[in-house]
């Protein structure tokens, strides 16, 4: 471990951001920019989920709730109020954090198995509310009418280039904060609870409070991912909060590796690329995806980055 890991992380993040921002200056490719925009939403979504799965050992199958809620909260705030875009993002983040606090208060005391599907059930409750509250959410048609484009700092998000830059900045910032949280003493506490909750309890840690905090933070950042998704589709759709979306996030986490911070980002990248390629060749993309998942779960038994870590044990993280 280096002595100033936070500085090193910030340096890596800055470098990555510069590279991503420089690419369109050299070569414009709409497909690539689309990919990065979708990736930034998915990466935040999956990485926030991994704060629960990888760090705290809490397998939530209902994380899509917060992704969808972030998208709806943001799109509705923009449509119904005159607030500027950064304020709307903060509002959406607060709303998802509050929702996560409420859902977490019910769920975090449950055992692992119960937790997995109660979160799923709560997500499906949210989904059914979206579908049935037509006057507000547009029901199964999704929230239409677009998101009002308000210029911020000279940015015009209707332009794909500006949206690309905006999403990249938000995603890198969000990942950096999540990285900081997971490397902090709080993150260490979560890992201790994951590995031995009895011992953690004996050391005076209030288990449910730490878990609830993790759940709330993860929910808020999934909400930011949802905001980016809403910007990309220029609206919000119930599918964002549907269960296959939660399944995709879990798969992205598992595909990249639960024990590496960047694992979920890599997993999201592979998953999105896989989806793009598969849908080009067959309409049965669930079939292909399912077979790939089975191959990973039964064959590799861990994500790509975790696999590499085991293969080259010398390097930490």
């Amino acid at each position: 471990m280096k002595s100033r890991p936070a500085l090193r992380d910030a340096a890596i993040a800055t470098l990555a951001l510069i590279v991503v921002l420089a690419i369109p200056l050299l070569h414009r490719s709409p497909a690539f920019e689309d990919f990065i925009i979708r990736l930034s939403a998915m990466a935040l979504f999956a990485t926030s989920l991994n704060l629960l799965i990888g760090n705290a050992g809490m397998v939530s199958f209902g994380h899509g709730l917060f992704y969808g809620l972030g998208a709806y909260a943001f799109a509705l705030t923009m449509q119904l109020t005159e607030l500027s875009l950064p304020v709307a993002i903060v509002v959406a983040m607060l709303i998802t954090a509050l929702a996560a606090l409420g859902v977490g208060a019910i769920c975090v005391r449950l055992g692992t198995d119960y937790f997995a599907f109660i979160t799923l059930a709560v997500q499906m409750l949210f989904y059914s509310i979206i579908i049935s509250w037509q006057s507000l959410t547009g029901g199964d048609q999704g929230l239409r009418g677009g998101i009002p484009r308000r210029e911020i700092f000279g940015f015009e998000l209707a332009s794909q280039l500006h949206l690309y830059q905006f999403c990249a900045v938000i995603a890198v910032l969000g990942l950096l904060v999540l990285r900081h949280i997971s490397a902090s003493p709080f993150g260490q506490t979560l890992r201790m609870i994951r590995d031995n909750e009895n011992r953690a309890g004996f050391l005076g840690i209030v288990l449910w409070r730490a878990r609830l905090a993790a759940f709330t933070i993860a929910g808020a950042f999934a909400g930011v991912g949802g905001v980016l998704a809403a910007l990309f589709v220029s609206g919000a759709y119930p599918e964002l909060a549907d269960w296959p979306n939660s399944g995709q996030a879990i798969f992205a986490v598992m595909l990249g590796g639960v024990n590496s911070f960047l694992g979920p980002v890599l997993g999201a990248m592979i998953l999105l690329a896989l989806n793009d390629v598969v849908t080009r060749f067959t309409e049965y993309h669930g079939l292909v995806l399912g077979l790939v998942i089975l191959g990973f779960a039964l064959g590799l038994r861990r994500g790509v980055l975790d696999f590499l870590k085991v293969a080259w044990p010398g390097r930490s993280r």
């Binding site: 019910i106 005391r109 449950l110 692992t112 119960y114 997995a116 599907f117 639960v258 077979l291 998942i293």
Partner: protein
């Protein structure tokens, strides 16, 4: 919300009978699926997220067999047997590899199976909705009970499900096999040390669970439409049933299924459009007041 409508319905015997019947149908079908979920969890500590797939396959197999043979009894039996067999294959080929590993692996494998079979069903039977229609044997005038309309098929369906519930409850509590299953739920190593082949036992448990779900799918086919993905909504409801009734409790599954059935039956009158919400509220209330479920042991 329409409480007046609910009040006037409760005042009329005809309306009460009709809604109770439709609630019983929902509840009994749900019970057949949830009993499998709770049995598999009780014995194997596996949350079978793919259980809805068996329900779906049972429905589709029955649909095809009815089309080929025109015998509904044969259709139901083959639907249940096919999924019982499917349960064994699923347990042996996939789930047995992840016993004891973390819930994430189990979840992923089940998720993969759901994705694969939803698409396989689309490939074999097409992506459109299918309606089986009422089998000809049941196309007879409905019964009238206190002025309420009860189609004979509904009565048969509830009867079959009630019979299964009794057989399951007696089988688990009275027979040697049932005692072995309950012992395995508490301490599988000890059961194995006593010379009982737990590998076979676990496969049988999955066969029973899968078969019950397939039976439910086959029984539901005449009254509901068939579609790829139909397994998921009943899966969510059967999870809710296991939460309300208590994990691993068959009696709890029956009571909770009937509760949900009645909420559905009468909720459509009092709270149209929000019956799902009522069920989730019921679940959250149980979780807060009695986290182990109505019939569950302490967590």
């Amino acid at each position: 919300m329409d409480l007046d409508a609910l009040g006037s319905c409760l005042a009329m015997p005809a309306c009460v009978v009709t809604q109770t019947t439709s609630g019983l149908i929902v509840g009994m079908l749900l019970f057949l699926v949830a009993a499998g979920v709770t049995l598999i969890f009780g014995v194997l500590k596996i949350i079978n997220f793919a259980h809805g797939t068996f329900y779906m396959l049972g429905g589709y197999v029955a649909y095809s067999v009815l089309g080929a043979t025109d015998s509904y009894a044969l259709a139901v039996v083959s639907g249940a047997l096919a999924t019982a067999l499917g349960g064994v294959v699923f347990e042996r080929a996939l789930i047995s590899r992840v016993y004891g590993s973390n819930v994430l692996m189990q979840l992923l494998i089940c998720y993969a199976v759901v994705l694969i079979f939803d698409d396989l069903v689309k490939m074999v039977w097409g992506p459109e909705f299918h309606a089986m229609g009422m089998p000809s044997a049941f196309q007879v005038p409905p019964l009238f009970i206190a002025g309420g309309v009860v189609p004979p098929f509904y009565a048969v369906l509830v009867g079959i499900a009630a019979l299964i519930a009794i057989v399951l409850a007696l089988g688990l509590s009275m027979t040697r096999f049932g005692k072995t299953v309950r012992a395995a739920a508490i301490n599988p190593q000890m059961v194995s040390a006593l010379g009982i082949n737990t590998t076979v036992l676990f496969a049988i448990v999955f066969a029973i669970g899968g078969g019950l779900a397939g039976l439910a799918g086959a029984l539901a086919a005449p009254v509901r439409s068939l579609s790829s993905g139909m397994g998921f909504s009943i899966l969510i409801e059967s999870f809710i049933v296991t939460v309300i009734g208590g994990m691993g409790s068959i009696a709890g599954a029956l009571v909770a299924s009937l509760m949900i059935g009645m909420v559905r039956g009468f909720g459509t009158i009092g709270f149209p459009g929000f019956t799902d919400g009522l069920i989730y509220i019921l679940m959250i209330a149980v979780l807060l007041l009695r986290p182990q479920g109505l019939f569950g042991r302490t967590l």
